[in-house]
């Protein structure tokens, strides 16, 4: 604490990709200087005397000059702009005469008052930079359009000549045109192509790269082609394997993750409340689409404007949910318009960022300082998105009712269950008689609709406090011993039982009142029976004495709703926030009268349902009321003696049929079109000039005219002369496979982005991608079939110095697995991973059990059981305010805004996850169990045999995880670990039991003390092997591809 932090930029604990300052800076400096000025920069060689504007000059101007002397007219100093030839040569630059140009004077002067950039803006230019500027001005100060704003042209792959043959005489492998471009540069940097990776490495690399799963996860036909390739490692055999991988559903799931980052997809809507949002059917649509033959272009157009396509299908409308993943703020007292505008701006910046690699957010407040998007053009683009119906409403409308793809196995199971129950039903007498109301009223304005099944749907106004009153009539002779209230989920309320935005209700009080036209006569008698008269009315309250319900959340039992009088804002009442189903399941409560009521004549009565808890708007959404004449209904209900079969049937039918309402984009009718204005300083209330949709000038298509709506915009993205869309797409897919994009700043192709390492290759691939009908599979295949991608990753001494970051691809890519794959691979290797596709999000083990958001109450993470515990990561419920920590720790994008690439970090918190996370421990146990099965179950007495078997077991685990033959050294190390652990666990069986997760060993028959000797030995072995498996699942090679 006392000593000043010397070289700590961040201590190693939290170092980025583990960087710590090197001890000897001199060494580094030397290396670098030689690197930078040896004529190679990012592997590029420049001729001695010519100057490349885009690569050498623009970066200098951008860094030092453009923020004050650039396109932003509002902030331009000295009326000078240096981003155009006209501006620069107005007075500051004399083309061909550096010595006579003011610019050179001002940057080279010693006078601090005059020197540019001003001291408070940044350091002076480097001598080298000044020299470059001089040279450039002397040679005419030629400007060039930023490289990425010029449409890509088809490039001819450079020829790889024999002279490039490596020193050892081996010929470079050229498998497709990618290799021509790559080798050309590798050779000119004095490097040579790495040897091809071994067939096993390639099998794993392709499987993880293309499907996010290890090779063994795939079905039999894939295994056969793996076998063929290993047996005879030829390119055609590899190609067959790759083709198969690209057709697996795992491929679609894996690449969907990339889209989910772009779409900022999550299962909640963000900000303080972070309420659940059912938008997962869109995620399923995405996976299905990726699995289909749909092109990148069609997929994109559907997402951006599916609703505007002629005769849009349900699926095309659903596709637009892409842009409904924007955050919604439901905090009390917020201005919905403010947050609607924020969402619209987010759609605009997401669209331009994801498809064109342009960053436009800064133009919200002022014209872009670096790229050609003026503030006015920004708001013209804004207008394209400004005419949709959604408006940050609490209910997230508009929504599309979707029948999601349900897992066929689940549906079949439900059908079978319903069938069985229906057979049993014949023996079950109907106890409940459903009543059909004569009159439905509310105290504060809620309206009602009577549905075919006699349920009552509430809709219309949503006051803070509300009381429903339903009038029924029963014929003479009817006995009412109890009434049943069903709370039914309804699509009107997003499939929830309540009307609040989260779908909650609290029934503060239920009252049953007999409507008596002859009150006077019966009054006394009823009083004695315990009835109370409602003041100033002809109604007599029939009090309840007990209640039961099928479910209630803590402290919200239906019993608390039967008190004859309640305080306004009181905390009692029936509520049903279920840890698994939330508010989305049907529930029922049974209320038993103090004394059964016998109708001597036809009698009318009213059921009052009061909603007046401390929180507003918690009203029932859809209810149905029934009566029964069975005495002691509550006790019978609790003993499941009251119509149990019907109850189960109802629940199963609801589960089978429930549609989901998904927020989608929908265009407002023409007459309700909004007006768009320039927003001064980005403030939605400060309206400037009125604007209408228009494409930005620098990117206007010269070949086609496009309509000025979202559909036009989405087609404009794919115009033949759009310079960016194809490049950005190709670059993204390339980066996912290679680790780095050709343009490293995938999200910024503008002048502030990095220049491409291989511009010709990028253009070549972009042109080919567009011409090949935007076929992503074809593109991916081309990459993985290249000799470049198939190289081994070994880093040579020379490459460390010349190409430390592998920008030149003189070796194969080595990529840290993404968060999703880190988990899925471990589960798969352990044999736990479920291959179930689609469906509602799941809740795998999570150390954070409960999240309490401001104002909207909490959410309990109720762990899924069975198969759902081990689904692929993409199906994990994603709460924005509390993402699953495993994914967050492994650098998953935040999903609050569009994310084009993830940062890769290397931290001790990651180590905690893969060492200690429940999922990883479970995976280690499962893998250990498989390892121990190797070599049979018999006890072996012979020590040699037992050692041999141990070697086999450990080799099996290593091979399963790494897909490589186990090495002697690895086996030795792990054998020692096993033996040492075994020594410890054999004498501490309690610890062994705990390691195996038998935490309550005493209750479960797994108590080591009661075990026989062989069982105890077995337990110690399993615990020890789990330790070994835990190490295997943490190997660096396992976490990398």
């Amino acid at each position: 604490m006392k000593s000043p932090v010397k070289s700590t930029f961040m201590n190693l604990a939290f170092s980025i990709i583990g960087f710590s300052w090197p001890r000897s800076r001199t060494v580094v400096l030397t290396v670098f200087l030689s690197l930078c000025f040896g004529g190679v920069f990012e592997g590029r060689t420049f001729a001695e005397d010519s100057v490349d504007f885009n690569l050498q000059i623009r970066p200098i101007l951008s860094r030092h000059c453009i923020s004050c002397h650039g396109p932003d007219e509002g902030d331009r100093q000295a009326d000078l702009r240096l981003d155009t030839f006209e501006g620069a040569t107005d007075y500051a630059i004399v083309p061909g005469d550096a010595a006579g140009s003011d610019v050179i004077d001002r940057i080279t002067t010693d006078d601090d008052e005059l020197r540019m950039p001003p001291a408070d803006h940044g350091a002076a230019l480097k001598l080298e930079e000044m020299e470059l500027l001089r040279k450039w001005i002397d040679s005419g100060a030629n400007y060039a359009v930023h490289w990425s704003f010029v449409p890509p042209q088809k490039k001819t792959p450079p020829e790889i000549r024999n002279s490039a043959t490596a020193v050892d005489g081996s010929m470079p492998r050229v498998q497709n045109s990618i290799d021509n471009f790559i080798l050309d540069r590798v050779h000119s940097a004095g490097l040579k192509q790495n040897p091809a990776a071994s067939p096993l490495v390639l099998v794993r690399r392709a499987s993880l790269g293309l499907t996010g799963l290890p090779p063994a996860a795939h079905a039999a036909p894939v295994q056969e082609s793996i076998g063929r390739f290993i047996g005879q490692p030829t390119q055609p055999h590899f190609e067959t394997y790759v083709d198969q991988l690209l057709q697996t559903p795992a491929y679609a799931e894996h690449w969907a993750s990339v889209w989910l980052d772009l779409a900022r997809y999550a299962d909640t809507c963000g900000y303080s409340g972070d309420e659940r949002r059912d938008i997962w059917p869109w995620r399923d649509w995405l996976i299905r689409s990726l699995q289909s033959e749909k092109s990148y272009r069609d997929l994109s157009i559907e997402m951006l404007a599916g609703d505007l396509l002629p005769n849009a299908t349900m699926d095309q409308k659903l596709a637009t949910a892409f842009h409904r993943n924007t955050l919604a703020n439901n905090e009390g007292g917020t201005d919905d318009e403010e947050f609607r505008v924020i969402a619209v701006k987010d759609r605009l910046s997401t669209t331009l960022n994801a498809w064109m690699g342009l960053t436009v957010r800064c133009a919200e407040c002022h014209s872009h300082k670096y790229d050609p998007i003026s503030q006015q053009e920004y708001y013209q683009l804004f207008d394209f998105f400004n005419h949709t119906v959604d408006a940050d409403n609490r209910d997230d409308r508009p929504k599309l009712e979707v029948h999601p793809i349900r897992n066929p196995a689940n549906v079949a199971a439900l059908e079978a269950k319903i069938g069985d129950l229906q057979k049993q039903l014949e023996d079950e007498p109907e106890v409940w008689e459903i009543l059909r109301p004569e009159e439905m009223k509310s105290r504060n304005g809620t309206r009602f609709r009577l549905l075919d099944d006699d349920s009552i749907l509430a809709f219309g106004p949503l006051p803070n406090i509300e009381e429903y009153a339903f009038t029924f009539e029963v014929p003479a002779g009817t006995t009412i011993a109890a009434i049943r209230l069903e709370a039914l989920p309804h699509v009107e309320h997003d499939g929830n039982v309540g009307r609040s935005p989260e779908g909650a209700f609290v029934l503060s009080q239920i009252r049953l009142a007999q409507i008596n036209d002859e009150v006077a006569g019966d009054k006394k008698e009823d009083k004695e029976a315990g009835a109370e008269e409602e003041t100033n009315s002809n109604e007599v309250i029939l009090p309840f004495h007990d209640a039961a319900n099928d479910f209630n959340q803590v402290n919200r039992h239906a019993k608390t709703a039967i008190k004859p009088t309640v305080k306004s804002g009181g905390r009692q009442g029936w509520g049903v926030n279920h840890p698994m189903t939330g508010y989305r399941a049907r529930h029922e409560a049974v209320f038993e009268l103090k004394k059964p009521f016998e109708a001597k004549s036809a009698t009318r009565f009213k059921v009052y349902l009061l909603h007046d808890p401390p929180w507003p708007r918690l009203h029932l959404g859809c209810v149905r009321i029934s009566i029964c004449d069975v005495p002691g209904a509550v006790v019978k209900y609790n003993n499941k003696e009251l119509g149990p079969i019907r109850r189960q049937i109802t629940a199963a039918v609801v589960e089978r049929d429930a549609p989901v309402r998904v927020p989608v984009i929908q265009e407002r009718q023409k007459k309700y079109r909004r007006e768009s204005f320039v927003m001064l300083r980005g403030n939605f209330r400060s309206k400037g000039e009125k604007v209408e949709a228009k494409f930005p000038e620098a990117f206007a298509s010269k070949s086609d005219a496009f309509s000025t709506d979202r559909l036009g915009l989405s087609r404009w993205l794919f115009a033949d002369d759009n310079p960016l869309t194809a490049r950005v797409a190709v670059n993204r897919f390339w980066a996912r496979l290679m680790g780095l994009g050709i343009v490293e700043t995938e999200e910024d192709f503008g002048t502030q982005g990095t220049p491409p390492s291989h511009p010709e290759l990028l253009d070549y691939l972009a042109v080919e991608f567009r011409a090949g009908d935007w076929d992503v599979r074809k593109l991916l295949k081309k990459v993985v079939m290249s000799a470049t991608w198939q190289q081994s990753t070994t880093l040579s001494q020379q490459a460390i110095e010349v190409d430390p970051r592998n920008r030149l691809l003189s070796r194969g890519p080595r990529v840290r697995l993404s968060a999703e794959v880190v988990r899925d691979q471990a589960l798969s290797v352990a044999g736990l991973l479920s291959n179930k596709l689609y469906g509602e999000p799941v809740y795998p083990p999570n150390p954070i059990k409960r999240v309490v958001n401001a104002f909207t109450g909490g959410m309990t993470w109720q762990e899924s059981t069975g198969e759902d515990r081990y689904r692929r990561a993409i199906y994990t419920f994603l709460k924005r305010s509390a993402p699953h920590p495993l994914f967050e720790t492994f650098d998953m994008a935040s999903r609050d805004t569009c994310s084009m690439r993830r940062q890769t970090t290397n931290t001790p918190l990651q180590s905690f996850m893969t060492l200690n996370d429940v999922t990883f421990v479970e995976a280690a146990r499962a893998l250990a169990a498989k390892m121990l099965e190797v070599g049979g179950d018999d006890d072996i007495d012979d020590e040699n045999d037992s050692v041999t078997r141990l070697v086999q077991q450990i080799s099996f685990g290593l091979e399963k995880a790494t897909y490589l033959p186990a090495q002697q050294k690895q086996i030795e190390v792990l054998t020692r670990l096993y033996q040492s652990s075994l020594d410890k666990y054999s004498t501490d069986l309690k610890a062994a039991a705990e390691m195996m997760g038998h935490e309550n060993a005493k209750d479960s028959g797994l108590d080591p003390e009661k075990m026989k000797a062989p069982q105890r030995a077995r337990l110690a072995q399993r615990a020890s092997m789990t330790v070994v498996a835990n190490v295997i699942l943490n190997l660096d090679i396992f976490l990398n591809n």
Binding site: V5, R25, V28, E128, G333, E801, S881, N916, A993, D1036
Partner: protein, 494 residues
């Protein structure tokens, strides 16, 4: 830092690669620098030799002679009412329950107040404290006892009046999600001083997350390592810092030895410098396994300290968090962020009423904060530790009266003026800055915007708020935002 001499000999070579990796980080992950890589690189290197802060763009910044080293930020989520605590207004008291002057509310929008509200005088009395005679609410006597240590700013203002956006604006510089938080910036700029603990730790009390959720301590566009690490009061203080049940520390040690050997072999085969880093991270994790539980265990504190704070080992409370905050800064944690929920005193019911909830929150918060200040002072840590207290905005001088019954008392959100105080860390002591008008409705003198406040705190830490930046998506992101208007308020500093 190196734990094994085996690969020290490789350092020079590997260093180059790793510097590249680092540059990859700051160059490429700091999206956009790449185009300028050459000059940036040179700038980075040349200054790296003589200026350790080069990576933050701190070229030649005139640092404060004795900058604050650490921060304890006490955020009272919901926003405490300044008219009861810090900003005594006799005129407001005089006009208690009179109609609010029309001109104050004309054209104004409030979160909940509708129509023409009534003024609400201070519900609880004030008193003068200390030699400075600072006027503070009597509901916070323990804090007030340190009046002569406080730098009270009465003239804060913001432009957000909903909780989540206001908290985001205050902590991340933008009312929308995606910004990098205060603590992320501080650790990005200064690093951490304890290599076995995260540099930025967060604790939440009061039963709820703050409205802005974890975005309030998010790293935004900064690298993930700068995210606040939330310490939990239940289970592991840091997720999975404990070994699985049944795995002893011995076995863990042995399994890490095995893992390291295998990974080193991996490195020898492929020479990926990241592999070495991973080995180091596992070692670090191993050390954290003892460091974290140790620092989080308050049961070893002497009884008198526990009593002073009102802390109880094993319980989740704001008091415990205050004590933990001291323990963390003592260990060199750079930025400790506390959020305490429950200060949103609207007066719509008992749960947010001035007489019940506010009194309760004062009671819960006052003693531990007073104890924290005393403790830091007594240990000689207050000079280098900056303590910040505040909410995300102010509250109205008018009564909210949402249900029209006046059965409970409270105030609505108010962005135009609020109070915060700082103590230690080079801020003036016993000093009051700025003033509001006679009704405490808006700033009358020396307004300090949220961005000025951010600039001032960064400056107090020895960082240049205008230069501390990160280039991403074409924008040079800064905590204080893109405009150069925010200024360091030098008057607040010694």
């Amino acid at each position: 830092m190196k734990t094994n001499s085996d690969y020290l000999s490789n350092e020079a070579r590997v260093a180059a690669a790793r510097l590249q990796t680092r540059r990859h980080f700051f160059g490429n992950c700091s999206i956009g620098l790449g185009g300028l890589a050459l000059s940036q690189l040179m700038a980075g290197i040349s200054t790296a030799a003589d200026d350790t802060d080069s990576h933050t763009g701190q070229h030649g910044y005139q640092k404060r002679a004795k900058p604050a080293k650490q921060v304890i930020y006490l955020h009272m989520a919901g926003s405490p009412p300044q008219h009861e605590l810090f900003d005594y207004k006799p005129e407001l008291e005089k006009r208690n329950l009179q109609e609010c002057p029309e001109e104050l509310i004309a054209g104004k929008k409030f979160a909940f107040i509708k129509g023409r509200p009534k003024l609400l005088g201070p519900v609880f009395p004030f008193e003068r404290y200390g030699k400075s005679g600072m006027q503070l609410g009597k509901k916070i006597p323990h804090i007030a006892a340190h009046a002569d240590e406080l730098c009270l700013v009465k003239s804060m203002y913001t432009d957000q009046f909903n909780h989540a956006p206001a908290q985001l604006a205050l902590h991340t510089g933008t009312p929308q999600v995606g910004g990098a938080s205060f603590g992320s910036w501080a650790t990005y700029g200064l690093g951490s001083e304890n290599e076995n603990l995260p540099g930025y730790m967060v604790m939440v009390s009061g039963g709820n997350m703050p409205s802005a959720g974890k975005n309030a301590w998010g790293n935004g566009y900064l690298p993930g390592v700068f995210q606040g690490v939330q310490c939990r009061s239940e289970g592991d203080p840091i997720l999975y810092v404990s070994n699985p049940k049944g795995m002893s520390r011995d076995i863990r040690r042995e399994s890490l030895d095995a893992l390291n050997q295998l990974n080193r072999r991996e490195y020898e085969l492929f020479r990926d410098p990241e592999t070495l880093t991973r080995i180091e991270q596992y070692e670090l994790a191993f050390r954290m396994q003892t460091a974290v539980p140790e620092v989080m265990d308050i049961s070893k504190e002497p009884q008198n300290v526990l009593e002073a704070y009102g802390a109880e080992p094993g319980k989740a409370s704001f008091a415990n968090n205050c004590l933990l905050a001291r323990r963390l800064v003592e260990q060199g944690v750079r930025f400790v962020q506390l959020f305490d929920w429950g200060w949103d005193i609207h007066g719509t019911g008992k749960k947010d009423d001035m007489h019940s909830q506010f009194v309760k929150k004062c009671k819960e918060g006052d003693q531990p904060i007073g104890a924290l200040l005393a403790d830091l002072k007594q240990r000689g840590m207050l000079d280098e530790t900056l303590v910040i207290f505040g909410g995300e905005f102010g509250r109205t001088p008018m009564v909210e009266n949402r249900n029209g019954k006046m059965d409970f008392i409270g105030r609505d959100h108010h962005p135009d003026c609020f109070s915060m105080w700082m103590a230690g860390g080079g801020f003036k002591s016993g000093y009051v800055h700025g003033a509001t008008d006679e009704l405490g409705y808006k700033v009358a003198e020396d307004g300090v915007s949220v961005k000025d406040f951010q600039a001032t705190v960064l400056h107090a830490l020895g960082l240049d708020p205008h230069r501390l930046s990160f280039l991403t998506q074409g924008l040079n992101q800064r905590l204080i935002g893109p405009a150069n208007t925010p200024q360091v308020v030098h008057d607040l500093l010694t």
